[in-house]
Amino acid sequence: MSTWSRNNRLPALATLALILTAASIALIFFYAPVDEDGLNQKIFYFHVPIAFTAYACFGWGGWKALRHLWKRDEGADLESYVAIHLGVIFGVLTLVTGSIWARYRWGHWWVWSEDQLVLFLVLFRFYCAYFMLRYSLPAGPQRANLSAVYALFGVALIPVSVLAIRLSQRFIHPIAFDKGGPNMAGSQFLTFCVAVLAMLTVAATLYNLELAGKRLDVRLRELREALQ
């Protein structure tokens, strides 16, 4: 990739993220119809895109992990790590916004009946363990390999956990609850899509930012090594 495009990609991405975020906030608060839940429902426009973005980060991290193991891509380990790092941050945000949503919707700060939240908790736990694994190993090919394998386990865990949690609800909460999946009107859908795009671009910006910073660290270290 040419230096020009590399140097300019980050600011371009950041600008795009800013524009989209502003647009989505505008849409959320001024355009999308307010339904009976009121302002609380607006949380939904944050919570779900954030959750979506977190999944995207974990997925991307898993993809980079696969590239590392399979094709031995240079730097794939770092990219995988940064993606998962970001995914965990978005995961925390998901849990927080989800909790706020639950508070307004059901009056509790946490509800086990909401599959999405439970799934996130499990995944969050899983990826925190990813960091514990990384911290317990010295930097090197072994750490990269083990992290990659564990990241792939995480990706495989997602569908299985979805299934497991759904099944577990049957014997933990046999009372049928209102799933409340959004049936969205056109304007809501548009707002939702813009919000998703905004979150993804914000994530992409942060990803590239963190990656650039980490790569710089690596380069500095290499230069120091070479000068020794």
Binding site: L133, S136, L137, A164
Partner: protein
């Protein structure tokens, strides 16, 4: 064919080691029975069947962790893992051999635990046994690979439970569900899916866990 011979040789080695050392299996047996006794005091009267079954699975899970944390002890303490990795055999055979021996230990622990559970709490039915059997496969497969990972780093005794517990959640759901739901089929299906999916992933990725 060579592959199976390798796996057999390695599994035999692990069983032989345990026979000589006699530390892991007795600890597991003692642990599981003690835990069940503790649970008797933990459950207030009128607790549901679900609570008791749930506790059984907690006991099994932690007994498994106990066994798993010792599983690579010999290789780690004496550096023998290098010797095994250098051999021309497929590295996944190391995983499979070790997983089979862990499976054997788990089954032996359950041969003691399930009757004890039946005695202390509630009778054991076929669905529970099937659930335990399927869960054992998953625990052995995933646990062995994670034990190898944990061995590589510092704080290995702490790391293994941290790595393992999130992955154990589908197993627990499947196992408990199979024991208490009217329709155990779905849960056994979940366990089967988990076993198949993760066994394949472990088998394919163990190579990367032990090499650079």
């Amino acid at each position: 064919m060579n592959y199976l011979a390798d796996v057999g040789a390695l599994a035999r080695k692990d069983l032989l080691l345990e026979l000589r050392a006699r530390d892991t299996l007795p600890a597991m047996l003692l642990f599981v029975v003690s835990t069940l006794v503790v649970f008797h005091f933990v459950l207030p009267t009128g607790s549901s069947d679900l609570a008791a079954t749930g506790l059984l699975w907690v006991a099994l899970l932690f007994t498994a962790l106990l066994g798993l944390s010792r599983s690579f002890a010999a290789e780690r303490e004496q550096g023998v893992i290098d010797g095994l990795v250098l051999a021309p055999s497929d590295r996944s055979a190391i995983w499979l051999g070790k997983a089979l021996s862990i499976l054997a230990f788990l089954v032996l622990a359950e041969v003691l635990a399930l009757p004890a559970y039946g005695l202390f709490f509630r009778p054991v039915d076929a669905a529970l046994v099937a659930g335990v059997a399927l869960a054992d496969v998953g625990i052995a497969a995933v646990g062995t690979l994670l034990a190898a990972m944990a061995t590589a780093g510092r704080a290995r005794e702490l790391l293994l439970p941290l790595l393992f517990l999130p992955l154990a959640i589908p197993i627990v759901v499947g196992g408990v569900g199979a024991s208490v739901a009217e329709d155990p089929g779905r849960y056994l299906g979940l366990l089967g899916l988990y076993d198949a999916l993760f066994a394949i992933i472990c088998w394919a990725s163990f190579e990367y866990v032990v090499t650079e």
